[in-house]
Assembly symmetry: C3
Homo-oligomer: 333 residues x 3
């Protein structure tokens, strides 16, 4: 099934999955991150997935299965198990609210207290969990899952096979206000939408604001973690991955295949190229060319940042050396 | 209608709004931010709103309408369009839960699965979207909108014409615990409320905690973006604007007309004066006088911060120059 | 009742609580934080709780009650008042959704539009507020409160006397994806759960992801403020307290009795010892030994950080002194 080479007891049987340092004799585990290699010599797991080229330095009592990519193999085994372990709800629970004229596909799941507004368009196999809100005119592509209590405002368009986690809010008003002469603010209506392409995952309690005009766009395959803010008219390119609590200010365009760390902030109206990497807590005030690896607030080249950090740690020593030079210079005179 | 001076084809017709760089021939757009001026020469839009004093450097094919403030004019046009484009729900959807004795104004909207607790007081024209929670004894002023799934705990008071976006939580317990002798914590009951004045907008998934005693107060015209935390007994002055993911710790008082960037943090028990400006990701540990413009963590005067940043970027060079001086000093002896 | 020594009018009567600087004649207040001592000389409060050893420098017109710990005494008085002031809902409101076979304890509260999935196990005296979601197979211990709209995914286990605030999401999928050859990502199923021990409080809109395998664990007595992110397989030790908007990346283990400031970020796969203190906005990239007090991003020893900050503020002066030394050195030659 996994195409691996077995080393050790071929009859080892397991009934669960576990992390290598926590596994009991009933578990299969894996070794992918070298930081965890030392655990393989005393793991209680009966079976360990390892890389084909793994060379143990001491005897391993567990049965090893050598595969090309242990994490990927584990992932496939987990999928197999997930089908069995995860509840797969179906049908239409009552009471729910489905506006007149909305067509509910035969294989859809609509949970109790879910709300489907007028003119919503639901793809085959959608799962809309309890207490979710699918506003008027919203489109959900085939196989998309909307977890409990997620809210999708009117007119937004979600692609196929997307996963919207609990509490996520898609399409709330962008934060746009015009200052007035008396110091108060006048709300700018936000008449655009949010467009989410296929295969996107949106984390729990993440917010994606609708555009002032046009669309806030989340590209194909993008993965947003929990508690992220994407402001109005933001665009995020295909297969970009963003960790929890990152925030993107209005009209900023982020490229494809970027990796954004947790709590990173992007200023508004800037452009970030493809394959950019940003360490956690970076603050991005200006546009970034493709391929850059950045750290810090304000974000600079990651190697420069690390060097800078080393010198900053020594700043008292630098000051003391300046004082010593000044004393020496004085006494010379 | 907009009081502008038309320059170009006076018969140009449009059916939508768009950003200047994305507009097609069916769109009206605007030019307010000088960063976008170069787009006017090749925009596909049929009509562009520009400032009265705008002087193009090259021919503009679109029809220009000269107005005092293009962004403000656009905003008024958007409002006109928003009335037509945005669903305007009304009436009472079933099932919803309205406690006995609560008076529902004739022109109110109550969405399905909304909950209105005992003793709640609803102003004329309120809109309470599906799955929103208006706890016992809550007051909502005239024309206030509570979007899907927003939660307002018991006893909180919301003014007129407020907008509470989806997932916002108003009045959850303040984070107050007394340490005990055994190292555990004892919860301090939070018996205060949240008081939100008129014309306030609260972003999606923003949280405003109730006071331990008295009230957490959000002043008139305040605009809070998404995912903001306002802790117990915080006070935010009139017409202060705060960007997403900012956080204010307990009992801190923020003045009027402040502008707070995204991801800014305020320590507890401090006072921030009126018209203070804080750049994104600033960390405010101490009180700030009125009018200050600050940056950085810890936050300092913005000009000092920018100068500091320049020198920090050169810190390796400074260290090298110290080493050179030391070598020179040694070889002198 | 509070075991205090009365000083001043023993017949003073109060009907409410207030902060010392806001109190009227109808209020009892307290003085615990020395920053507020000056308010006691002109407070309007009729009664002030003070420490037994408090020595006023000027006459105090309010009645003082001397107690061992004014904040703790206030807390007990507040509890007494909270019982009277806070609505105590009970019974089962309709409509709600309780899956077949779920046993609802006689003294439980189930709010309208709450959802209780198949196989859920509810302890005595649980309160499940309106629009909350308790997924299939979830366990809630005795006396646990789930506020409006909180979501607990399938299979998670919550201990006794826990408080889950509105909008919190427990058990959403961990953020795990395997990169594929074409640059897209493949979702790793997250088949673990979240285990929350007894006496834990989870803030509004906080998210705690389920484990990939095994459990994300929140220890006994932990208090998490609002908008916090705890990623998959995180462990947080007993009686650790974390302020709003902090975030913990995957598989990181945080010790017991730690105090974590607001907006702090922890990298993944690190270990933080017991009794660690972290100032607001710290960024923790590496493991930390027990008892450390840290600040900054990257986080370093708090005293080193404060010293460093002093020198950084003087960096322009340091650069000027280097320039002066260089000029002197040149002119010497």
């Amino acid at each position: 099934m996994v195409g691996g080479a077995v080393e050790g007891n071929p009859d080892a049987a397991v009934s669960t999955f576990a992390k290598i340092e926590e596994a009991g004799p009933d578990a299969i585990t894996f070794l992918a991150n070298p930081k965890y290699t030392h655990h393989i010599y005393d793991t209680q797991a009966s079976v360990v997935l390892v890389r084909r080229d793994f060379e143990p330095e001491r005897p391993v009592s567990a049965t090893m299965i050598r595969v090309d990519d242990p994490y990927d193999t584990l992932s496939r085994l987990l999928e197999f198990a997930a089908q069995a372990l995860t509840p797969q709800p179906s049908g239409v629970e009552q009471p729910c609210y489905v506006a007149e004229g909305v067509d509910v596909p035969a294989d859809a799941y609509i949970g109790a207290f879910a709300y489907i507004g007028a003119g919503a368009c639901l793809g085959k196999g959608v799962k809309i969990y309890p207490q979710a809100y699918v506003g008027p005119g919203v489109t959900l592509g085939e196989g998309t899952v909307v977890y409990p209590g997620a809210k999708i405002y009117h007119g937004c368009r979600i692609g196929a096979r997307c996963i919207i986690h609990a509490g996520a809010v898609i399409g709330s008003d962008g934060f746009g206000f015009a200052p007035t002469a008396d110091g108060s603010y006048h709300k700018i209506p936000q008449i655009g939408i949010v467009e989410i392409a296929d295969d996107v995952e949106i984390g729990a309690n993440t917010t994606v604001d609708r555009a002032t005009m046009g669309a806030t766009r989340i590209g194909r395959g993008v993965k947003l973690d929990n508690l992220i803010q994407a402001a109005h008219n933001v665009e995020i390119g295909e297969h970009t991955v963003m960790a929890a609590q990152a925030g993107v200010a209005g009209s900023t365009k982020i490229g494809a295949h970027c990796m954004v760390g947790g709590q990173v902030g992007f200023a508004g109206h800037i452009t970030v190229g493809d394959r950019v990497g940003l360490a956690a807590q970076s603050g991005v005030a200006h546009s970034i060319p493709a391929g850059a690896k950045m750290m810090g607030s304000p974000a600079i080249d990651a190697r420069d940042y690390m060097r800078q950090t080393v010198y900053i740690k020594r700043i008292k020593e630098l000051a003391d050396r300046i004082s010593a030079l000044e004393r020496a210079s004085k006494s010379d005179k």
